[in-house]
């Protein structure tokens, strides 16, 4: 009996000695998997934060550029008083070139942000598929990307139409006609376009964060509200541009046409 219990004791001891390394290895693997998951989550959060910052930076810069151009135009009106026609023309040309360059630089930054959003499609789908399944996550992302591409194209179109109208207003101004009110109206359109750009960035960020919520459908309501704002803003901008053109036509302000250098 004593011998038998000794045998059981030895067997248990040997088994424990064999099991402990296995448990230890398993524990190590669980820990490293947890660490890896935490690291991935941290990287994901950093990426979201970086995108937020990028979007905020672009929005701030867009508004700053818009305000700077408007303020420079106003101060130029005072500065050129008393100058000869040639000097005024020269100053205006410099101002218009600088404005165009600043806007083009901003468009490049917007383009980079758009590319970044497209390039993160796999990351977004990987997160979302945990909540709604792989195929559905793919379709949802594809639908959203298509929608945002169309909205981007619409806002770009309005931006270019604003450029063409500005070019026309500059020519009308150069013939000595007063276009102050129309220029103010165009500034308002530019501000509305900036608001639309900002909202587009927000919609993309909120969509990227859908998987954070247990019910992405509820989180999507926020995205829909932002998309609705963008839709309203683009329609406002479009209607305001139509009004400017109608005012030019009614006031018979038109002069000979040319092509703008910075539109496609």
């Amino acid at each position: 009996m004593h011998k038998k219990s000794n045998e059981i004791f030895i067997k248990l001891t040997v088994s424990s000695l064999l099991i402990f390394p296995v448990i230890s290895i398993a524990q190590t693997n669980i820990d490293s998997a947890r660490n890896l998951w935490e690291e991935r989550e941290e990287v994901r959060q950093e990426n979201i934060q970086a995108r937020n910052e990028l979007n905020n930076n672009i929005s701030e810069k867009l508004r700053a550029v818009q305000n700077e151009i408007r303020d420079t135009r106003e101060s130029l009106k005072i500065e050129v008083k008393g100058l000869s026609k040639d000097e005024i023309k020269q100053r205006l040309e410099v101002f218009r070139d600088e404005s165009r360059t600043k806007r083009d630089e901003m468009r490049k930054e917007i383009q980079i942000a758009r590319e970044q959003f497209r390039n993160k499609a796999v990351e977004r789908r990987d997160e979302l598929k945990k909540k709604i399944g792989e195929e559905r996550a793919k379709r949802v992302d594809a639908y959203f990307v298509h929608m945002m591409d169309r909205i981007d194209a619409a806002v770009d179109r309005l931006d270019k139409l604003a450029d063409r109208i500005e070019s026309r207003l500059n020519k009308i101004h150069d013939t000595g006609k007063d276009v102050t009110d129309l220029q103010v109206a165009l500034d308002t359109v530019r501000s509305t376009i900036v608001t639309a750009h900002t909202a587009i960035g927000e919609a993309k960020i909120k969509f990227s964060e859908l998987s954070k919520d247990d019910t992405p459908k509820d989180q999507f309501i926020v995205v829909k509200e932002i998309v609705n704002i963008i839709h309203t803003k683009t329609k406002e901008a479009h209607a305001a541009l139509v009004d400017i053109i109608n005012t030019i036509k009614k006031g018979r302000l038109d002069v000979e046409a040319t092509s703008t250098p910075n539109t496609q």
């Binding site: 169309r150 139409l161 063409r164 539109t263």
Partner: protein
């Protein structure tokens, strides 16, 4: 040569060819399915339509002539900018069921 002794070999050959053909056809079908699955053809039914919408919005003149600007303004359709919202909602509804 005795024709009776050749017949089983012929039958075996034809069986092998039949199996090889079936395997080749199955491989082709598998490749086809894999290609279509990865090419995202089935992802969005409205993809082609959507690309056309985008192309229409991207197309515009460069003239600052009032009538040219007006024509492009009139051709600007902003009504369906958010049309995928309902499709996304439907996907979330189906996932919740």
């Amino acid at each position: 040569m005795d024709p009776i002794s050749i017949q089983p070999a012929d039958q075996n050959n034809s069986k092998i060819w039949l199996i090889v053909s079936i395997v080749v056809v199955l491989i082709i079908i598998a490749f086809g399915f894999y290609f279509l699955r990865n090419s995202n053809i089935f992802e969005t039914p409205s993809a082609i339509e959507s690309i056309n919408d985008i192309n229409m919005l991207q197309k515009q003149g460069t003239s600052d002539d009032i009538s040219a600007i007006n024509a492009d303004l009139q051709a600007t359709d902003l009504n369906n900018l958010d049309k995928e919202v309902s499709a996304i909602d439907a996907e979330f509804d189906a996932a919740a069921k």
